[in-house]
């Protein structure tokens, strides 16, 4: 009993309580949205309740981790600066801010040309996985939250389905036809994207020397295996009900559900968390754009411009919050982080000469 209490106390001590509060609030909002969006659970599909619980748990963990992440001094600084620059009046002349945002979103989040430059094969694999996952999420979440649901519509002359979103009838869909095929097979399409994507990335991971040198099983292979298991079991489900009259369906459905739940619960902890983290790169674009025509920080040793002045200033503050003291030895003049990387290396070599009293043995 005492041990249990101690363990619990230990875990409580490990938690970052302000983030628990933030995550709880946001999760409560999500639950509220589920209840309201499904019209008091009227449109809620009870068969999917396992997924819903997993989604809510994963959402809590994602909110928690994101919130903890934002408390780190460099992250906090970037976050605040990003928003501040985004809304800075100077950047709204000629609508520059939205244009910067548009370009950054397109290049960094949608097209991801930097991944292409890492390797075209990697880009293709990543694109397939990313697009497939987004499609699958876009279908799964509204369904398991009861935000979208389908009802039987007309029987004569053709069978139709009524699509209701948040309980409002928005569309009547003829059962036959390409569009409804697409709607009902969206997840199949998604697995046909994710599976080849996983294959390409796996192949790279096994064959490419740069990748094999640095990868780790839990970090790099586990998410791929999870994605594969989810997509493949989903695909088998479709084969079972569409072509094999439901052969093995119940067991497959359970297996698929557990794999999805595992993936959802992995989302906040492993590599896939970058989906939520990555938009921070937009802040970098703002940093650059906002400082492009300002005086940069110049290295006092080499004279080269090496960073935006705003960044060396911000960093100085951040380093202070991290309990580093890189200020000048007598408190006046540039801090160490205001010397360029090359300037630092030169002064280090010089410090070494001094330590050797300029005499090399």
């Amino acid at each position: 009993m005492r041990e249990l209490a101690d363990t619990l106390r230990y875990f409580a001590g490990q938690l970052h309580w302000p983030s628990v509060r933030n995550a709880s609030l946001l999760t409560a909002l999500l639950v509220l949205a589920i209840v309201v969006g499904s019209r008091n659970l009227q449109n809620f599909d009870a068969a999917l309740v396992g997924y819903t619980y997993a989604c809510v748990a994963a959402a809590f963990a994602v909110f928690y981790r994101y919130s903890v992440w934002l408390t780190k001094p460099p992250t906090k600084k970037f976050w605040r600066r990003g928003w501040q620059l985004c809304f800075q009046p100077a950047l709204w002349k000629n609508l520059r801010s939205p244009r910067i945002l548009g370009e950054a979103v397109t290049r960094k989040l949608v097209v991801q040309d930097f991944v292409w430059r890492r390797s075209p094969a990697r880009w293709l694999g990543h694109m397939l996985i990313a697009a497939g996952c987004l499609l699958a999420f876009a279908i799964t979440f509204p369904l398991v939250f009861g935000w979208i649901h389908f009802e039987m519509g007309a029987v004569e002359p053709d069978h139709t389905y009524i699509v209701s979103v948040f309980g409002f009838h928005v569309h009547e869909l003829p059962l036959a036809g390409f569009f409804s095929w697409l709607v009902f097979h969206g997840l199949v399409v998604a697995s046909f994207m994710v599976i080849p994507g996983v294959m390409i990335v796996m192949y790279r991971r096994m064959m490419e020397e740069g990748a094999t040198a640095v990868q780790r099983f839990s970090r790099d292979f586990l998410p791929l295996i999870l994605l594969f298991v989810v997509s493949f079991s989903g695909l088998l489900l479709w084969v079972s009900y569409e072509y094999l009259e439901g052969y093995f369906f119940t067991a497959l459905a359970q297996f698929h559900a557990w794999s999805v739940i595992a993936l959802l619960l992995y989302l906040p902890f492993g590599k896939l968390f970058h989906i939520f983290q990555r938009p921070a790169s937009l802040g970098v674009s703002y940093y650059k754009a906002a400082n492009a025509d300002k005086d940069p920080a110049r290295c006092p040793v080499t004279g080269e411009a090496f960073a935006p002045k705003m960044q060396t200033d911000d960093l100085k503050e951040v380093l202070g919050e991290l309990d580093f003291d890189y200020s000048a030895p007598d408190g006046k003049g540039p801090a160490w982080n205001e010397v360029s990387p090359r300037g630092k290396r030169i002064l280090i070599a010089r410090a070494h000469s001094i330590a050797r009293k300029h005499k090399f043995d």
Binding site: K72, K77, E209, A280, G303, P329, H352
Partner: protein, 239 residues
């Protein structure tokens, strides 16, 4: 019996500026064509002195702590790794914060890469690439005992002082026996031109006149580069 622990030692005084380490490092597939080790001319106007710099693998890495994306991780062996590709947003914080001027940012691929002590090699008992090609032993990988035997006039230390900040590193630097920490000072920068004519001022003038030299290899090596890794078994012991 477990294998003896090997350490990485830098002996600045031995560097002859041959750039073999730079070339050796560039061959690695993880950053093909881009060296992670720097060799700088210390005072090109007045001397031929050069100095190599690899990641010192700080025990409390400033780079990792100043990374907003949590992209830099230290492993169980104390090796501080290149940024994780999915996380790094190429913000340059680490590059500006690292006290040793180590991380390299590639805007092209939106990633910071840095020396990771060839952990793929060292974890398999091999030496880091640069130490296999350094002809003078300025970059050396071996046991503490070996080093003591080879360089009796120097001793390895791993403590640095930047102004008030003390940094301890995994890597060792060779200094005379009466030195316990390398003190990196930059007081002369405060005096500017009115102070004693010293390195920083001279350098500044030099750079202003001649432009900043760029020792980095910018041209990527051809894709079909032949394998030129030295055979570990045939490797000479540099004394």
């Amino acid at each position: 019996m477990s294998a003896p622990v090997k350490e990485f030692f830098i002996d600045f005084q031995r560097c002859i500026g041959c750039n073999a380490c730079v070339a050796g490092c560039s061959e690695c597939h993880t950053h093909r064509g881009k060296p992670m080790v720097s060799v700088d001319k210390v005072d090109p106007a007045h001397s031929a002195q050069t100095a190599p710099m690899v990641c010192m693998h700080c025990k409390e890495p400033t780079c990792a702590l100043s990374c907003p994306a949590d992209a830099i991780k230290m492993d169980e062996n104390g090796i501080v790794h290149s940024s994780l590709k999915p996380r790094c947003i190429a913000c340059r914080n680490c590059e500006i914060a690292c006290p040793f001027g180590v991380p390299k940012i590639s805007e092209e691929i939106q990633q910071m890469q840095k020396c990771d002590m060839c952990f793929d090699r060292t974890s398999a008992g091999k030496k880091p690439m640069c130490t296999t090609v350094c002809p003078t032993g300025a970059l050396f990988y071996g046991t503490m005992e070996e080093m003591k035997r080879l360089r009796p006039h120097s001793k390895p230390i791993n403590k640095w002082r930047f102004g008030k900040q003390v940094i301890e590193t995994k890597l060792w630097v060779m200094v005379p026996h009466d030195v316990d920490e390398v003190v990196v000072d930059w007081p002369e920068l405060l005096n500017g031109a009115s102070g004693p004519i010293d390195l920083a001022v001279k350098l500044k003038e030099y750079f202003e006149k001649h432009g900043v030299p760029d020792p980095e290899i910018r041209e990527p090596l051809p894709e079909s580069m032949p394998e030129a890794r030295p055979d570990e078994t045939e490797e000479a012991e540099f004394l």
